[in-house]
Every structure is written in C-alpha cells, then in structure tokens.
Amino acid sequence: MIPFRIHTGLVAPLDRANVDTDQIIPKQFLKRIERSGFGEFLFYDWRRLPNGEVDPSFPLNQSKYNGTSILITGKNFGCGSSREHAPWALSDYGFRAIIAPSFADIFANNCLKNGLLPVVLEEQEVATIFQRARELNGYQLTVDLERRVVIDRENFLASFPINDFQRECLMAGLDDVGLTLRHDADITAYERHRGH
C-alpha cells in the first residue's frame, strides 16, 4: 500500500448523493481477475452517452478537471456492493482522497485498505468546496492526514475525524495482514480454547 501523509491535488466535483458502487464501476467491467486497469471504466455509464460518445457535461470529462486527484461528492458515497473494485477504480484513475459528508461503511473500509483516504467533512464545508471547485480554475486542496485537516489557498480549513489506528496504518502504508500475522500465537490460543 502506498503511504498517505499529505497530498495536494486538483479537486473535481461530483454533486450527487448516494452514489453507489454500481455507478462507480459498472459491473460489466468486474470480470477482470487483476486489481489494476479499472480506472478507465470509472463512472463509465455517466462518462458516456448511450451512443458510447463522451458526455461533455460530466465533470471528469471537462479539461478543467484533468489530472484531478481529490473528489468532492454528496452523502452516503459508495453505498451498495462490497466489491473492492470501486476503490480500485478510483485509485487507478488517480484519486488519492474523497471528501463527502458521509460514506457507506464497507466502502470506506475498502478505501482505507487501498491507500485511498475517505474524508468526512460537515455539509457546510463540503458545500464550500463544491462551490470553489466549480467556480475557480485549477482549484486545489491539501489533505493533511498527519494533522487531520483539509486546507486550501483561500483560507479554508476544516478538520476531519479518523481513528488513530487507521491513521497510523495509512501513514506507514502498513498492510493489515502483515500486522495480524504478528499475533499468530493469540489466534492459535483462541482456536485451542474454543476447540476449533
């Protein structure tokens, strides 16, 4: 996992609530057996018109948001399936952080395991970022995990919650499996005690 400490990047707005995993990566693209290569299919059905052509009104298709790495979006982002293909597609596309008023549980968990940071801010703070991302050209934010804050160059400052354990794992790029394997003796003791 790539460690996450501090990241500055261009912000793209996706002003919809309850964006589900089927929209993030439509299931016709889930049949790959690798982790990579999902980025080009991110939001596929929204990025394209029914005739297959690029929909110029979709934010990620606008040149203004070329090279974006921070997504600002509505509440309950990532609801639906537990498929990790959704964070894989977002990462593969180039996103490092997603900012929303709330996230679906499994999705947020999956993001953390892939070095993609889900940032929960207040509705009002999210609204401010939306406005700036739409109105300003090249609007950038800095997400500072060490200090748990999001800042921009226009004096915006908001702090976000994340628990210490998750923060440390992300900052060190630690792999959960490796961590747990260190407790092999505890697991064996549990199995013995429970008669497994």
Binding site: R16, A17, N18, D20, D22, Q23, P26, K27, Q28, L30, K31, R32, I33, E34, R35, D45, P50, G74, K75, N76, C79, G80, S81, S82, R83, E84, P87, S102, A104, D105, I106, N109, N110, K113, N114, N163, D164, F165, D176, V177, L179, T180, L181, H183, D184, D186, I187, Y190, E191, R194, H196
Partner: protein
C-alpha cells in the same frame, strides 16, 4: 404509540443513552450482537480495532481472485481451508449447463476460482454440483449458517445469514485476503440498533414489503455504522425464509449486519442439514444457541418501532431502495419534497425511470419480470409466486423469468410442480445463480425496459444499462407479470 393510519409514519424513534444503563462489567446485560461479538474477540488492545475470529468464510468467483493472487505474491498460506467454502453464482449462465460458458471473461473468472480452490484445498460447489447456488442461499441450506457464528463473504448481502442469529457481514477483497491468511478480521465495534416490529403482517404482505417499509422509514443510510437486531412479534412470526429476506435487505438500509435471535424455528430449520451439528452434538449446540438472545436490560444505541399492521405491499419508483411507496400510492412530486437535495434526487430518479409525478403505481406498465436472487429466490418465495400465477398466463407484452436461488431450491420446486405452473403461464424456468439481480451474465434488461424484480437493488443500470428496476415481493412480481402492470396482490383472485 403512534396511530399508524393513513400517511403517518409507522414508526416511533426512541434514543437511549448509555447513562441510563447500569454498567457492571461482569454482569452487564448484553444484546445478541454483543454476545456474538465478545465470543469472537481474539485480542482487543484499547486503541486499536478488535481482532475478530471468523467461523465461516464464503467465497465466490468475482471478489476472490485478487485475494488469492495477493496471498501468492506475499508468499502467504491459507490458515484454515476447512472454514472456507466456495461456490460460483454471480456470473454463471442460467441456461443449459451442458454448454461451455460463452462469456470468455466469466469463464476465466470461474476457472480462476477452480484453480484457487484446488491449490488451497477449499471445498467448492462448482457449476455442475447439485448444491450449487447463490452463496447466501446455499449457506443456510447446507446448514453452514448457524447461530452465534461469525460469517463473512466478499458480498454485501452476507447480512442474510444474520437471520439465524449469526453475525454476518460483507467484506472487500483485501479483507478476503486477510481472512484467508489469518482466519481473523480487524474490526471496529459497530453500534447497535433495535428494530422492533409490533403485530403481524397482514395477508398479502411479505417480509420483502416489511424490509422496504423499514428502509423507507430509516433511509438508505439509516443503519450506517450499526448492526440491526430485528425483534418483536412481526419478526418472530416470519418463517426462516422471511427472516432471511429481512436480514438480506439490512445492507440497503446501510447497516453493517442484521440479526434475529434464534428460536425453535431456527433449530428445526437446521436439524438434519448436511453441515449442521449431528445427533451427538445437537443438544449441546441447541443449549448454547438458546443463550443467544438479547438480555432484557440490555441497551441499544438506537431503537425504531414499526407497526406491522400498517405495512402494505411496496413498489420502488426510483433508483435506490428507499425510494418506495405502497402499491396503493402514486409516484411522488419533486416539488413536494422536504428540501433541495431531495428535489434534485427525486427529479433525477424520475427522469431515469421515465415516470411522471402523481402517476398511480398500479398504472405503471412493465416489460419484464424477474423472480429470484438471494433476497427472494428460495422455495417459499417461489411457492408464493406460483400461488398467484396458477391458472393464469403472463401479459402479452411481458417477458418473465424465474431463477431459483440454488439447484436444491430448483429440484424442490420441480418436485412440487412449481416449474410446471410457471412454464404453463409463460415464464422461463432457469438454472440457479444471481442472474438478473446484477446482470453480470447474459440476463440483462435492454435500455429502457421496465422490470418488476424481486431482487434488492434498483440502482441505475443495475439490471442492464438503461434498465428500469422496480423492487417488489415475489407475489407482487407474479401479479404484475400476469396483468402487465403493478397490481395489488391483496385483491388477487387466486385460482
């Protein structure tokens, strides 16, 4: 209690604070969830997530290949192959199984699962197995799903298994790898929520309608961060199948899991199943299972009460399961919503669904009907649908299919002659799998087609790009297939 007549919400919210609870660590009353959770803690450092032991890990072809690759890349083994069970369901074809799989990519995924299972010594219910089926249908059917167990699967509808008093939840592929390598998961303890269903459901109203009714009340993110326990007469009176339908839909309310305390119905469902405890262990296990109830004094973080008598058959009109109204209702008007965000969401959903505000639900015509999925693809669901269909033919412009949840369900249905009833009426009768619940195989809606579906998600494009999904119960889907539009099954003339 609130009077539930008319449009009033069939719910009463009550917040409880921990301050009201007396906390004596040793004797603290606990909820069902807390009992199962506590019994599975391998270690719990104060400032880290708990390391939770997993009793049963179910895997399928879509979310496991990358996890096995990661194991190999990191030179890790599989800790307990005996606690992992695999099947193929998400993209298997539901037509003739003797033909090779036409979709080469799906074939590649299924082949990868076979290879992984044989390399790591995992039991696989493969496409030609007489017990193949949707992972959440075969777990209970085989008796793998048992009270008090922790069960995970790389699929969000793992919540289904909570119907047995198991703690069951969906995980991502990184966690699949974690369980394969360690038989454990790192988890933060979720909050608890009680949904108490008072009274019993009226005739013609099913567990699916109850589930949709609850989501309508609490919202698609109403359960976020919580494990829901369903209790009360309305839940106790449900069959195991109905309980599974209810727990299955917990994830559509955003909940981590749904649970129902096990009782005599649970025990008699499990008795004699292939992986259930045998006679020598049965009484011991049942005695333990009987302790898996919420203590009377236990506290929940949140309590919601629902009056079962007020629940009607439901039909979703929009693009998430919370966008739902009773069949007697009308399509909502974006201009009558509570706030701007709701207005936009409603407008967008109506555009996608091609519906005009105030249209009577019963006036909405459908093109397709899908009866199946891990929500409503069990024998009882097929029986309920067949009871409606019996003696009728489907509407002229309707294409309808039944996809049993498992090969076991399919055989049982055939031995009762249900397949005959469906076929006579013009339904297609298919092989077991997820099928049009998610449209990863060839079973998809064409753009613009409108479908009455017994599945669990009506997201944009879920059943095929541009397809329009309305979630309903099996009875309601069957009635719509016959009349060609949504029809209140409570008024049905059974033949």
């Amino acid at each position: 209690m609130i009077d539930f007549a008319g449009k009033s919400r069939a719910v009463e919210f009550r917040s409880l604070t921990f301050l009201n609870c007396e906390v004596h660590l040793m004797t603290k009353p606990r909820t069902l969830f807390e009992k199962v959770w506590d019994a599975h803690i391998v270690r719990q450092p104060s400032d880290e997530p708990a390391l939770l032991y997993i009793d049963l890990h179910l895997i399928h072809e879509v979310t496991s290949p990358q996890a096995f690759d990661a194991l190999r890349e990191n030179g890790r083994g599989l800790r307990r192959p005996d606690k992992t069970v695999a099947t193929v369901d998400h993209n298997v074809p539901t037509i003739d199984r003797s033909l090779p799989i036409a979709d080469l990519v799906a074939a590649r995924q299924i082949e990868a699962l076979r290879r992984n299972c044989s390399q790591f010594n995992i039991r696989l219910f493969d496409i030609d197995s007489s017990q193949q089926g949707i992972v959440h249908v075969i777990g209970p059917e085989l008796g793998l799903t048992q009270p008090g167990r922790t069960i995970v699967c790389g699929d969000s509808h793992t919540s289904t298994h909570g119907a047995f008093g198991a703690l069951a939840f969906g995980i991502g592929t990184s966690e699949v790898e974690h369980v394969l390598a360690t038989q454990c998961l790192l988890q933060n303890q979720p909050k608890t929520m009680l949904v108490e269903v008072i009274g019993t459901l009226p005739e013609g109203v099913s567990a699916k309608d109850l589930a949709l009714g609850i989501i309508k009340i609490i919202g698609t993110d109403g359960g976020t961060g919580h494990v829901i326990e369903y209790a009360g007469e309305g839940v106790r009176s449900l069959s195991m199948e109905g309980r599974m339908t209810l727990c299955n839909m917990s994830i559509e309310a955003g909940a981590r899991a749904g649970m129902i305390a096990p009782d005599e119905k649970t025990f008699s469902y499990l008795k004699g199943r292939p992986f259930a405890p045998d006679d020598t262990r049965w009484d011991i296990e049942v005695a333990h299972w009987q302790t898996l109830t919420t203590d009377r004094e236990a506290c929940f973080d949140r309590v919601v009460r629902v009056n079962a008598r007020a629940i009607e058959p439901h039909v979703t009109w929009g693009t998430n399961p919370g966008m739902v109204v009773p069949v007697s209702g009308v399509v909502p008007d974006p201009n009558e919503t509570a706030n701007d965000a709701d207005r936009c969401a409603t407008q967008r959903a109506l555009e996608y669904m091609a519906l005009a505000p105030h249209t009577r639900i019963e006036d909405i015509k459908i093109d397709r009907v899908f009866i199946g999925s891990c929500t409503n693809g069990r024998l009882e669901d097929l029986r309920a649908a067949a009871r409606v269909v019996k003696g009728y033919r489907i509407g002229d412009s309707v294409r309808a299919m039944v996809v049993p949840g498992s090969q076991t369900v399919k055989r049982a249905a055939e031995s009762e002659g249900l397949d005959y009833i469906f076929r006579e009426a013009g339904f297609e009768w298919r092989e077991a799998g997820c099928s049009m619940c998610l449209g990863m195989n060839a079973d998809v809606l064409a753009p613009g087609e409108r479908c009455a579906s017994t599945s669990n998600r009506n997201f944009e494009g879920r059943q095929g790009r541009g397809g329009r999904t309305h979630l309903v119960s099996p009875e309601m889907a069957a009635a719509a297939a016959i009349t060609g539009h949504f029809t209140d099954v409570r008024d049905w003339h059974f033949k």
